[in-house]
């Protein structure tokens, strides 16, 4: 079961603190929705329940490609994913590129074999380098952990978003309650991570 991250979490918060959210109430819906948006990023990183993808169209001789800001990390890269010549592209560093070829910026090939990131995923200036530099058009599909502003599971809302947002709402007034809600969110995150971060259940 799931619902929109903002409207769903807001509805659940209204059940926990009835008559306190809305016009002329203790907290406005605007501030609650804004906090849900902030906390959603933390939830996505900590729990790892959202997997995002993007398709990059390779341009001959182009070295750098922007990574969308909804990525938190890149976990898989595939060349021409839906074709017979599909291949995995391996993660690497610029140092690895150096080790392969000192002139890697000028080394061109039909199919990228490695990729490296410069900048941190989530930043608008994060870029992906491919090696060898593509000499022909093609597609690269990147998959990773990311963020969402759409539907999320009820569990994520109940066990992390609701208590975390409540901890922020109460922080200036009732610190004991704040800590209690924060601890509830951390416990919830542990449970959720076991459930959703690696759904093959390996390594648990």
């Amino acid at each position: 079961m799931g619902s929109d991250i903002n409207t769903g979490t807001l509805a659940k918060l209204k059940e926990v603190v009835p008559h306190q959210i809305g016009d002329n109430r203790r907290w406005s819906e605007d501030i609650v929705n804004t906090l849900v948006t902030f906390v959603a990023g933390i939830a996505a990183e900590r729990i790892g329940f959202v997997h995002v993808t993007t398709e990059i169209a390779l341009i001959p001789d182009q070295l750098e490609y922007s990574l969308p800001t909804n990525f938190i990390s890149v976990t898989r890269a595939e060349y021409n994913p839906d074709s017979a010549d599909a291949r995995e592209i391996m993660p690497a560093t610029l140092r690895d590129f150096d080790n392969a070829s000192g002139a890697w910026r000028n080394t061109k090939g039909l199919r990228p074999e490695q990729y490296a990131l410069v900048g941190t995923p989530g930043s608008p200036d994060c870029v992906v380098y491919f090696q060898p530099v593509p000499s022909a058009a093609g597609d690269v599909k990147l998959t990773g952990v990311g963020t969402t502003s759409d539907e999320v599971m009820d569990d994520v809302q109940d066990k992390f978003l609701v208590p975390y947002v409540l901890s922020l709402l109460y922080a200036g007034d009732e610190l004991d309650l704040t800590m209690d809600y924060y601890n509830e969110a951390m416990d919830g995150a542990d449970d959720l991570r076991r459930l959703y971060a690696d759904e093959t259940m390996e390594g648990i």
């Binding site: 902030f38 941190t120 989530g122 930043s123 704040t178």
Partner: protein, 233 residues
């Protein structure tokens, strides 16, 4: 992504203040909180990279670059064979090269110790270039400051970690000498901030393992106790 406008209005709401009336905190104070938070996050995690390209004139001792902390990679002759430069220190150059000051040639190494004289990061070359040479450096960069004239611009931090800036602003707001001072609340927000920063550090370091390695080498250059990198580093 969080814009500076949304971050600022959220801050004012959570501290019980209103932007415009500013009973407790002026816009300049709040802007200062945010910029201090951005610098702190940048220094703790090195989440922002900056690629600098330019030309090193013949005989130049180095280059100075603003709004960066330290270089983590250097390349010379970038339009030709693109030679990678390795990080070193002035201490090491002095010990290893008798005629270091008069040596000219292809850029092979760079250093940053004993060069900074102002706000800019000064990078020295060894040897000095014998001819004009194109260079490229990658730096750990200082995040862009927020500006009240640009409320719709996204705050310069990975989108998912935007809350860290809000938390650090609130930590400062409840800590400074004001009617809002409450050290317990301040400590709570600092804990939240540290928590997000820890996650961001992990994301930065797990992104490129070798970057962590080169950062370690750069840090050695500023280690005042052991001025030179240890022989096994």
């Amino acid at each position: 992504m969080a814009t500076w406008g949304s971050l600022r209005s959220t801050f004012y709401t959570l501290v019980g203040d209103v932007a415009g009336s500013n009973i407790f905190f002026t816009p300049a104070q709040v802007r200062g909180f945010a910029n201090k938070a951005l610098r702190d996050a940048g220094q703790k995690t090195f989440y922002k990279d900056y690629e600098y390209t330019g030309t090193a004139p013949a005989d130049s001792a180095g280059v100075a670059v603003g709004d960066v902390y330290a270089p983590w990679r250097g390349e010379s002759d970038i339009s030709g064979t693109s030679q990678v430069m390795t990080a070193t220190t002035m201490e090491r150059i002095l010990k290893g090269h008798l005629n270091w000051a008069s040596t000219r040639g292809t850029l092979r190494e760079y250093y940053t110790d004993q060069r900074r004289s102002g706000a800019e990061c000064a990078v020295g070359f060894y040897p000095k270039p014998g001819a004009d040479t194109d260079i490229r450096f990658y730096f750990y960069a200082v995040p862009d400051e927020v500006d009240d004239a640009e409320l719709n611009i996204n705050v310069d931090i990975p989108a998912w970690a935007s809350a860290a800036i809000l938390f650090h602003m609130l930590y400062q707001a409840y800590r400074i000498d004001s009617k809002k001072r409450d050290i317990s609340v301040s400590g709570y927000y600092k804990m939240l901030y540290n928590d997000v920063i820890d996650s961001l550090t992990v994301r930065v370091n797990s992104k490129i393992v070798r970057k962590a390695d080169s950062r370690h080498r750069v840090r050695n250059q500023f280690d005042l106790i052991s001025r030179s990198p240890s022989p096994w580093s």
